[in-house]
Amino acid sequence: MILSFLQHQWKAFWRSKNTGKSVAVRVVMAFLLLYLFLNVVVVAYFLDEILDELFPLERVLDAFNGILLYYFIFDLLMRFQLQELPTLSVRPYLALRVSRDQIVNYLSVSSLWTGFNLAPVMLTLPFLLKQVLPYHGVGIFWGYLLAIIGLTLFNHFFSLWFKRKVNLNSWFLLAFVAVVAGLGLLDFHWHIISISYVSKLLFTHLYQLPVLAFIPLFMAIAIFFINYKFLKNNLYLDELRSDHSGEKTSTDISFFNKFGVAGQLAATELKLVLRNKRPSSSLKICGLMMFYGLLFYPNPAYGVGFGWKIFAGMFMTGIFIINYGQFMFSWQASHFDGIMAHKIKALDFFKSKLILFYSFSSITYILTIPYVYFGWKVLLVQSAMLLWNLGINTLIVLYFATRNYKRIDLSKGASFNWEGVGASQWILSIPLFTLPFVVYAPFSLLGQSMAGVLCIGFVGLAGMMTRNFWLGLLVKEFSEKRYQIAEGFRNE
């Protein structure tokens, strides 16, 4: 039985739309995975030297002990955010002649196959082999390994159980991140409290008495059975769903009302963004992206020139256009027939997209104004890039949207979801990332970088002023492609 479960899951993976049908997507996916894997291997191999660099005053093993607890707190956080609950896949089996125990066993065991469970072992094993085994002996080596595996499994089943039990919304997660970040600051920066002290305390005991490794293992077994029991008692279709549907309210976003039909469409699309899993996670990315400047602005390594500032400014003010816009109109695939058959002019449809883009970009622009702290030039670049995003990038994104025929299921999460990804997204990124530099580079080479930035802003402004002309062309393009788009969206 388990064998045929596994067989079905194998087929489900390879035949799933998320896996991506086209060869190009698969190749890129394989490269990405390989790249991630290599990163992990490299980090793991040099972990002792990295630790030595970070904590020069401490013994390597102490430093290692000090970060372990942090790792597992972060691990838990990432799991809350990214780990998928293996639920709906059991649906066809519930009514067949398969015992509940078998199904629950299968659910528990098959959920183990995830990168989250591989990563801790892969990250620490080389370190343990290099530093612990030769200098501290076999007993301690096994103690560490068992403890790490135990904690990993504990995190695994705990997050599964917790996610099913509690409705985790993003605010909860944000609060969790803030708390962890705060603790980290208090710990490493201000040295007020010390998680690393607790971590050291715990793992030093382990060092002295490797048998203690059985404690995390027992914890893992205990939570496994709690999860097992919970699953078994709740193996009903309506209760297995990961999202608890609470009361939904009707809202009216009156800000958009003054823009007529286009405004109504924009308001409806805003609800699309807020009420569905995948688009709302792209909104969260917008929030995170606003900290992008911190990577570039304070760092003297990126120089006094404008190059990196242009890059950062484009992302911070335009991330919604880029990240949400790249999948346009796929978001509306499930009701695209309605959009076509109802009384909606194509021009209004396009205008509604612009309204949405303008609103989000303006918000991120206003929120990133405080970066002026790093000099007025930063604000200048951000302003120029805002104009560029509104004037040029919106049009590029919308043009590519008329060539995107892939359906997106709104209810699926965003992480590792390849549904709707096709060649058009890869090609789209080329003009998006290079065009501002095409404008800027000639000025920069002549030593007139300031003029280059102004020119970017000016071109963007020109694009905004002439947008009706471009929209007209887009509408024409759209009406030629409309059958193809609708046809593609109908293919589930």
């Binding site: 009701h335 027939d337 309605g338 076509m340 058959a341 009384k343 909606i344 209810s411 046809e487």
Partner: protein
Amino acid sequence: MIEIKDLKKTYNGITVVDIPSLQINKGESIGLVGNNGAGKTTLFRIILDLIRKDSGVVLSKDSNVSDTDTWKDYTGSYLDEGFLIEYLTPEEYFYYIGSLYQVSRADIDVKLEAFTDFFNGEILGKKKYIRDLSKGNQCKVGVVACLMQNPEIIMLDEPFANIDPSTQFRLKNMLKQVAAEGQITSIVSSHDLNHVTDVCKRILLMEKGLIIKDIQTDGNTLEELESYFSVMK
């Protein structure tokens, strides 16, 4: 009202719709019947300009539906859930539809009151998104949204399929009333021969893309259709 000439649509070499000529007059109530794959939904989609036809024209009030948008002003349609916006509450959806057709919220509220019986307390004020409604209730939302546009043409694809018996009776009565008033042209497809012969005054029978029968409903129509479908292999 609607005129079809030389219409042809093929998928992978198989003809799915082939209608040399069809004339639908104002106020007619058309019932579209045929087995799965006969081309009913494809015909609907072509009339609504949702799929490209290989040849021929569809004229709505003498203008080509592929070239102009004006037919959208007076055509209300509900083919499937693809017409609903699943992440809105039913109320929000009705207001959205209203805003497209310049019907104010207050007017929408008044119109919705007339459908209280039809909704049977399952749609409004339930604090659910459309995606959380059952198929039958989704169908109710779609049909009502279509009627609220003050349409001159109504097009419904298998509206009876998922709704409960009481709602079927109410929907039938609504459609009959529409037909009796003679102002609105309606095209309704169904697999339930009793319903279509009861509601529609003219029946189009499709088989493999062709309209093989075009009959005015009378006492014998039901029998005629039943005998056709019972000998089909």
